[in-house]
């Protein structure tokens, strides 16, 4: 403290900037979950059920995600097919 701290500008290495960074990520994630329509989990289960009629996918293979933009919303559907399915399908 004292003389040294007088010349040091506001410290950028302080933990507050780390706190802000972590919070911004966390809060964005929390809000995305909160604002998601309530039918998403059921939609995910239904898609998985239909898919399994045709392909032997893992229970966690379907990922449904809703992204907000200023002008529109994107429903992102991510399905991981097991290896080798392409040739037999």
């Amino acid at each position: 403290m004292g003389l040294l701290s007088y010349f040091k500008s506001r410290s950028t290495s302080g933990s507050a900037s780390l706190a802000k960074e972590r919070l911004q990520i966390l809060v964005a994630h929390d809000r995305a979950g909160r604002d998601a329509p309530s039918y998403l989990p059921q939609l995910q289960r239904d898609i998985l059920k239909v898919l399994r009629k045709y392909v032997a996918v893992e229970p966690g293979a379907v990922n449904v995600n809703l992204e907000h933009d200023e002008h529109h919303e994107v429903l992102e559907l991510n399905i991981v097919l097991p290896e080798g399915e392409r040739s037999t399908g």
């Binding site: 004292g2 290495s13 302080g14 507050a16 706190a19 972590r22 919070l23 809060v27 929390d30």
Partner: protein
């Protein structure tokens, strides 16, 4: 028509009761008939902060369950004739807080009072959701610290979805950010989130910043709302909050480190 204010936060120990007490007293000092209600059933503390713990006979739950009339349970503040306190029950559990029962008490109170301040318990369980359900305005009390900011954001989500206003599709609850236990020195050193940081994350209207102050502990030790300590920075900051809430435009104070002389800055700690 009265206005119902909820003082909430999610996280415990951030200053909800201190704020509820200060707000109710501040509004009463300005001539408004005010009542402050403790929603922390089982763990009441508002009576201590208000200095009326030995005058509690009946409580909020007694009124809800019809065991006492409202005016038997209301405690009149000895310092300000406009201010009343409705204490929580210490012995019952929070399940006694029904939506209908709370609604009836608030409706009855709104005939007599200009402002009804609801002091919410920590958490997101029944006591907290009941405290906010009928609110018109919400003070989200937040410390500049990660867990408090996160919990506040969670509360903001609940306020916008689980209130009567939300359910009836009316104008949403007006939400205000109140930052408490703020230390400009620690912000300057980069150790504490700044006002701007917290505002960036929560994007709420800032109603005030209460600096970390010894006066808050002194006030609760003696059962006097800290807003009555006009000498203290915290007391002044709370007075500003009340003024802003009532529509006055005031600059935020106590955000900067108190200026010291050059010698102080060179040799001070």
């Amino acid at each position: 028509m009265s206005r119902i204010i909820v003082v909430t936060s999610g996280k415990g120990g951030v200053g909800k009761t201190t704020t509820a007490a200060a707000l109710a007293m501040g509004l009463a000092e300005r001539g408004f008939r005010s009542v402050v209600i403790d929603f922390d059933v089982g763990l009441r503390n508002l009576d201590l902060i208000m200095g009326c713990e030995r005058r509690v006979v009946y409580d909020f739950i007694n009124v809800i369950q019809g065991e006492a009339r409202l005016n038997q349970a209301l405690i009149k503040d000895k310092r300000n004739e406009n201010l009343f306190i409705l204490p929580a029950s210490q012995t019952r559990d929070k399940e006694a807080l029904t939506k209908q029962g709370v609604g009836k008490v608030l409706t009855d109170l709104s005939e007599d009072f200009d402002y009804i301040v609801c002091d919410s318990p920590a958490g997101i369980e029944l006591g907290a959701t009941m405290a906010m359900y009928y609110a018109d305005d919400a003070f989200v009390v937040t410390n500049p610290e990660v867990s408090s900011v996160r919990d506040s954001d969670r509360m903001i989500g609940i306020l916008s979805s689980k209130s009567q206003r939300a359910e009836e599709d009316r104008e949403p609850i007006r939400e205000y950010l109140l930052l408490t236990r703020y230390s400009p020195e620690r912000v300057e050193r980069g150790e504490m989130l700044s006002v701007e940081d917290v505002q960036d994350i929560l994007s709420l209207d800032l109603i005030g910043v209460i600096p970390e102050s010894q006066a808050v502990l002194n006030a609760s030790n003696s059962g006097v709302p800290v807003i009555m300590d006009g000498e203290s920075t915290a007391g002044q900051a709370y007075s500003d909050v009340v003024a802003r809430y009532l529509g006055e435009q005031l600059p935020h104070r106590f955000l900067e480190i108190e200026k010291r002389g050059l010698l102080g800055r060179l040799f001070g700690g």
